[in-house]
């Protein structure tokens, strides 16, 4: 290999770029791709090559009371936390929109803090607080704790969809005689909807994936899918885990694709309406 070909644009340099790019993409995607087929193995071991295909391990999940209960709990807690976080997060994003509130910048930073504060630290605090408030080992307690972690995702998504909105649209609606409530219902809310829905999906996915705070505040009755998976990973690695992972991944991706798809279709339809005018 001559040193000249290592120059940008040289053949060896391009081969190096291709090789490096492929390697990193492989590193990033390999774990995601490798775990999915294992959910359908027939063997009792989580190894390749897969003997199967079989739905055996989904059957195991469906028959085990611990797993079905965990799945139901995850859906209850995830839905609850998503609703709480989406409602108050959307309201706050709208309130912060024009920086009319004193200390808007500081508030925004504080609102994003739950994403940064180590989960274990917040878990200890919540455990102490819940012991005093009598919220320990209750569904409400877990829903509230998850909602705290979900709020930043709603806030960021709604804020970005509000930021990309043309304020002239709302002014136009108001000048054409719409009341503030009508402006909000017919102009602001529909335009912010893609952001709200994306935020809600991220909120749900966050709750679905949450383990640490759940370990601190939930009782045995509120065991979630993620927590059940965490404790089984520590005990023995069975393909039931791959089946549970499959459920988590599919739930998240389907919701995400649905939201992204819906906003894409919405945008296309709007385009067609405008061009049809």
């Amino acid at each position: 290999m001559s040193s000249a070909s290592l120059r940008p644009g040289g053949a060896a340099f391009n081969a190096l770029r291709l090789g490096f790019g492929t390697l990193v993409v492989g590193f990033l995607l390999l774990p995601l791709v490798a775990i999915l087929p294992l959910a359908f193995t027939d063997s009792v071991f989580l190894v390749y090559p897969i003997s199967g295909p079989s739905m055996r391990w989904f059957g195991v999940l469906a028959e085990s009371q611990a797993w079905t209960r965990a799945i139901v709990n995850s859906l209850i807690i995830g839905t609850g936390a998503t609703i709480v976080a989406t409602v108050i997060g959307t309201l706050a994003a709208m309130g912060l929109r024009r920086e009319l509130v004193p200390f808007s910048g500081l508030l925004r930073s504080i609102f994003l803090l739950p994403m940064v504060v180590p989960a274990v630290v917040l878990g200890v605090g919540m455990q102490i607080l819940y012991a005093r408030m009598g919220l320990a080992s209750s569904y409400l307690g877990v829903i509230i704790a998850h909602a705290v972690l979900c709020v930043p995702f709603v806030l960021v998504n709604v804020a970005s969809s509000l930021a990309s909105m043309d304020p002239a649209l709302e002014r136009a609606a108001a000048s054409l005689g719409a009341s503030p409530v009508e402006v909000f219902r017919n102009v602001t809310l529909p335009l912010a909807m893609p952001g709200i829905l994306t935020g809600a999906v991220f909120a749900f996915a966050t709750s679905l994936d949450e383990v640490v705070i759940t370990l601190f505040v939930a009782g045995p009755n509120q065991t979630t899918l993620a927590r059940q998976m965490f404790s089984s990973l520590r005990e023995n690695i069975s393909p039931a885990i791959a089946a549970a992972a499959f459920i988590i991944m599919i739930l998240t991706f389907v919701l995400l694709l649905a939201v992204k798809g819906a906003s894409l279709i919405g945008a296309l339809r709007k385009k067609r309406e405008i061009s049809g005018l």
Partner: protein, 389 residues
């Protein structure tokens, strides 16, 4: 209604919610760490009596009588246990001394005169009384000191704890080292990868971006589980290496530092790539050709043009990865061995394993403080949002 008032009303629910369920718990954790409460709660009368004892003379009869009344009182088992644990961490021996004394006192008739020293000779040792006095203040730095392997002697001087009990500093150092290692690994992979992505266009660029975003959208637990499966002795990595004849016996890639570093680098890499990429695509496309036209060799152009412009992204990416890595719990717990656990696992042990919230809070404070400082620096430096959508 004024627009300002309306905006304020819209923000209020979240302010109240996070104040109540985010800031308050953090505050309570800090408060619990510095409160000398457990022993005071279990021995209220002793707490009052011991305040007037200066610690130089033998404990007066009134103090002994107060302790006897407290031990005879119907203290809840849990509260008594907490106090015994706290006292025992100050002075070894309390774990047997207090329950034995309490049992003897309850068995004896209420009216019998009791001499504590005859119940247990250890009560004539002033060290126990001094430990009791030390554990009684409203506020204490005992937990904070214990978190960094220090304690106060009887004369209230700060000294290191016995080497056998000094484990926290080593774990803090390890946490720091792992976070640095992961940050360096992410930077070493992330910087060239972000440069590669920014230099491409069309579907190639999109493909690389999707490869970064897909893991970010995937559950952390699922990604960790996947690495557990891939890295085990009979996992895909070892199978492949054996099949192509590189190794004869499986490499141990999991339940050790290698496993932790691989899994954590994978989880945090997107947080490094995205800010660097964002700062790179902001660079005008003709800058590199301009440098070349002005006679810069490719390496010179890289060093003097591209790298400085990528620096803000590299800096915020590194801060973000380091800050998040410091508090990691799940990934080291699942992919590491006993010697790879980070500070979070110790905090979790104190809080859920032994219900010693004072120690959990003190260690939590030592994790919360650097994280908060790093976040403030990060938000000053960086315009990239924390969440990518």
């Amino acid at each position: 209604m004024s627009a300002r008032l309306k905006a304020l009303l819209l923000v209020t629910p979240l302010v109240v919610f996070l104040g109540l369920f985010f800031l308050w718990p953090l505050w309570m954790m800090i408060a619990t760490a510095v409160q000398g409460g457990t022993v005071r709660l279990a021995f209220p009368q002793t707490a009052t009596a011991i305040a007037s004892w200066d610690g130089s003379d033998p404990p007066p009869a009134a103090l002994q009588a107060a302790l006897i009344r407290d031990l005879r009182a119907d203290t809840p088992q849990e509260r008594f246990g907490d106090a015994v644990r706290t006292l025992n961490s100050q002075q070894a021996g309390f774990r047997t001394l207090l329950p034995r004394t309490a049992r003897t006192l309850r068995e004896a008739a209420e009216s019998d005169p009791v001499d504590l020293a005859t119940v247990d000779p250890r009560w004539s040792d002033q060290a126990y009384w001094l430990a009791l006095k030390r554990s009684m203040p409203a506020y204490t730095d005992a937990n904070l000191l214990a978190a960094i392997d220090l304690k106060r002697t009887d004369e209230a001087r700060i000294t290191p704890v016995e080497p056998d009990f000094a484990v926290n500093r080593a774990i803090m150092l390890r946490t720091f080292v792992i976070a640095i290692q992961v940050t360096l690994l992410c930077a070493a992979i992330g910087l060239p990868f972000a440069m590669l992505t920014a230099s491409l266009s069309g579907w190639k660029r999109n493909a690389l971006l999707i490869a970064v975003l897909l893991p970010l959208w995937t559950s952390l637990l699922v990604r960790t589980a996947a690495w557990l499966i891939l890295l085990q002795d009979s996992g895909l990595i070892n199978q492949t290496l054996r099949a192509i004849g590189l190794i004869d016996s499986p490499l141990s890639l999991i339940y050790n530092r290698t496993g932790v570093l691989i899994a954590m680098t994978h989880v945090l890499l997107p947080l490094m790539v995205l800010p660097i990429y964002a700062s790179l695509i902001a660079i005008p496309r003709n800058l590199m050709p301009a440098a070349a036209a002005l006679g810069a060799a490719p390496l010179q152009a890289f060093r003097h043009v591209l790298l400085p412009l990528a620096m803000p992204g590299l800096l915020s990416g590194s801060l973000l990865v380091f800050m998040v890595a410091l508090g990691y719990y799940i990934t080291p717990a699942l992919t590491g061995g006993a010697g790879d656990q980070m500070i979070s696992s110790v905090i979790a042990f104190y809080a859920t394993g032994t219900a010693n919230w004072g120690m959990a809070g003190a260690l939590g404070l030592f994790l919360l403080a650097p994280t908060t400082v790093l976040y403030i620096v990060y938000s000053r430096l960086s315009r990239t949002p924390l969440v990518q959508t």
